[in-house]
Each structure stands twice: as structure tokens, then as C-alpha cells.
Symmetry: C2
């Protein structure tokens, strides 16, 4: 399992997210596969230039090849449309909105460019999320329903309450017949949103009390990047 997830995941509505006790080392997954970059959460960096990076040692050659093919001018960065094309050749088709959200969450900048290190982390996370989606889409319909979404999020380390779950399905689901169901692209957008907001909240709740305090400025700068571009 990749990403910044709790192991084992807790399920406390009273607390609200993940495990009630902090992981022994929240960065333990970051050294190798499935690592999620954690740049300093400086709000001033929202429009800062992305720092050049290299692939971490041991990166899957498939990922390196995928990046290099997309980076046609060998600048060391790929942009949003290049990333959309690169991922689609690996059966990961996303709207530009989802690509923008991916880029924002893995670079923590609004530059809409991504370098090798962040791209590798993103690629591993997508692989893990694709796995979760396929595992919980038991009837292989290409859609998951509310209960399956709850279980999939839980397997990724995010415990959401029934009200939040209902809102997620409402926001990310399509109405098919009587009930709403979520397809793969929207599932990824949903995972990114829950993961991103939860991490932003945790920055304000370092002691895992379940309560976070924001100034108005912090609140606005936390929320606005998740809105439609």
C-alpha cells in the first residue's frame, strides 16, 4: 500500500480520520516505492518554481521510460497535457482537472509541471489506487458504489463518516439507474481530495486530537487549491 496511510487503518467516527494513534514514523514509506513527497507546506510556495529533482534510486525503469518519452524537450519537467498523454498510455485516463489535482498534490505548487521524483511517487500511488479500485469493483462493472468506496478508502487509510461518504458519492458519482456509482477517473479525484484535505488538516492537528485551528488566511489557502481550475 502506498501513500501516507495509516497501518492498520482505524475507523473512529468520533475521531474522524485514519488511526487514532500517530504512525511511528509517518515518513517511513517515502524512501522507496509508493513514497509521497512531502514538501514544506509553505503557502508562499503555491506559485514558487518547482525544484528540479532526479529519480530515486531503484525507480522502476518503466516509469523512467514513461517520463522520458513524455519529456520531449528533455527539460526535466513534463506539463499537464504531456502527463495526461503519458498516463493514458498506461491505461490511466484522466480529465485535465484530475491531472491538475494530481500535479498540485504531488508537487504542492501550482506550476502544472512535474519532475522525476514527484512523477515516480505519483505513478506508484496511482498503481496502488488502481489496485484498490479493481479489488473493490467486485462485479467488474467499471464503477464502485458507496459501500465499496467506503471500503476502498479505508484500505488506503482514510476512514470517513457516513455523512462524508454520502457527500463524496454525491459529488463524485454519476447517477446510473437509481443509485449513484463512481467510475475510475472520479474515484482517483475522490481519493486525491480526501487524501489532500486530510493531510492539510493534519498539518493543523499534529497532536492527532481530531481538532484543527486555522487562521482565515490559512483556511482560504488550504481550500482554494482544491476548487475547479
Amino acid at each position: 500500500m502506498s501513500g501516507y496511510s495509516h497501518s492498520p487503518p482505524g475507523y473512529g467516527y468520533g475521531y474522524g480520520y485514519g488511526s487514532a494513534s500517530p504512525p511511528a514514523n509517518p515518513h517511513k514509506n517515502q524512501a522507496g516505492r509508493g513514497g509521497y513527497p512531502a514538501p514544506a507546506p509553505s503557502y508562499g510556495s503555491l506559485f514558487a518554481a518547482l525544484v528540479p529533482s532526479v529519480f530515486p534510486p531503484g525507480t522502476d525503469p518503466e516509469i523512467i521510460a514513461c517520463f522520458q518519452l513524455a519529456d520531449q524537450d528533455s527539460s526535466g519537467f513534463i506539463d499537464d497535457k504531456e502527463m495526461q498523454r503519458a498516463l493514458s498510455s498506461y491505461n490511466q485516463r484522466f480529465s485535465l482537472r484530475t491531472v491538475h489535482l494530481l500535479m498540485y498534490l504531488f508537487t504542492r505548487t501550482n506550476t502544472r509541471k512535474i519532475g522525476p521524483k514527484e512523477f515516480a511517487a505519483l505513478f506508484y500511488s496511482l498503481k496502488s489506487w488502481r489496485g484498490a479500485f479493481e479489488r473493490f469493483d467486485r462485479d467488474r462493472s467499471g464503477f464502485i458504489d458507496a459501500n465499496e468506496l467506503r471500503d476502498a478508502l479505508l484500505s488506503l487509510g482514510f476512514a470517513v463518516s457516513p455523512v462524508v461518504l454520502e457527500l463524496l458519492v454525491y459529488k463524485f458519482g454519476k447517477t446510473g439507474g437509481k443509485k449513484r456509482a463512481i467510475e475510475y477517473d472520479k474515484f482517483i479525484e475522490c481519493c486525491l481530495t480526501v487524501k489532500g484535505l486530510t493531510e492539510k488538516f493534519k498539518e493543523k492537528d499534529k497532536a492527532y486530537t481530531g481538532v484543527g485551528t486555522f487562521t482565515y488566511e490559512e483556511f482560504m489557502l488550504t481550500v482554494l487549491p482544491f476548487l475547479i481550475a
Copy 2:
């Protein structure tokens, strides 16, 4: 000036929004024109049925006629597409996304239906925002730039910092030539977002300290409704 705005608007970055001192009576604008409905901010009501309402005494007959024309089955409610059509006949053309955000913020439910009282409040607010847009679009280009957006938001009672302003222009602006500019539909979406998020924050900062405390559940339920539907 309509809506839940401070008078006179303050401009304190340190504090972050509106006037540094609470208005004597924050509900003073709600009795008559330009009033903004303030249903109880209960998170349980997100999916509750919308309560039937009637037009407040003294409502402009034009607004009543507009609503009744749209409410073809005389149910007392109009839905998202009916509202989109009704507003467009008054030169207020919006994407369905903006219509959904309008409906959410003026009903505080996700029912995507709106009744007479909420429709009247919404109509008055739009009139006021249209006025602000036209006042600040000095060259009548149909677009406003970052400085004009800052002044327009300020005239509506919302003081945003330079970093928040930059993010708003980035999110809601289109790139035209070298600089980003915001057209009317996106300006309304921007106003709704700033207004909605600011009001949500104020619910957590009733003493106007500039700091708000959220549980994880409250944080998620505050932010998610503003995401794309």
C-alpha cells in the same frame, strides 16, 4: 449593497476578512431587499428536503413573474436547469456548475431545488454583483483583472490578501494574452466561493478573532460542498 457584507468593509490582512469589528447586527440586511437567507448551519441538513417558502412582502413583481414562469408545474420549487433558463432571460448566463453553487449557498441543501424566498434573495444578490462587476470593468471588456477583482470583492465586503487574490485569479481567470482576466460567470463563481467559505469560517469564529477551530468532520463537510459536482 446586498448580501451579508460588512459596512464599511475593512481591509486588514492581519485579520483577513471584512471589518475587524463585528457588525452591530449581522442580520440587519435580511429583512428586506438583498437579504441572504441564513438557515441553521446544520451539517445534517445537507441532504434534507428544502422547506417550502413564500416571497417576502414587497418582493419585486419582476422576480415573482420570473420564478412563476420557470416553475411550470407550480410545485413551488424550480430545479437547476429551470433556474439556469430563468436567469439567462435576465441576461445572467451561468454554467450549471455556477447554478449548483448558487443553489447550494442560498438553500444550504444539496437538493438542487430552490423556493421563492431563496430565489428572491439570490436574484437581489446577483443584481448587486452584476453592478459591482460592471462598475469595476472600467473598459467594458467583459473581463476584470486582478486589481479590479480585489476592488470589487472589497466593495462587497470581502478583503482578501495578495496571495489569496493571486490564487483566485489563477483559479477563476482565463489566460488572455499575457495576463489572466475573469469573465462575468467566473466572477460570480469567485464571489460565491469567497462569500461561502468566509461565512463558513465565521461560523467557527463567532468572536471575530481571525482564528477558527474545526473538527476533522466539520472541516470535510465545510469544504466538500464547494468542490465540483
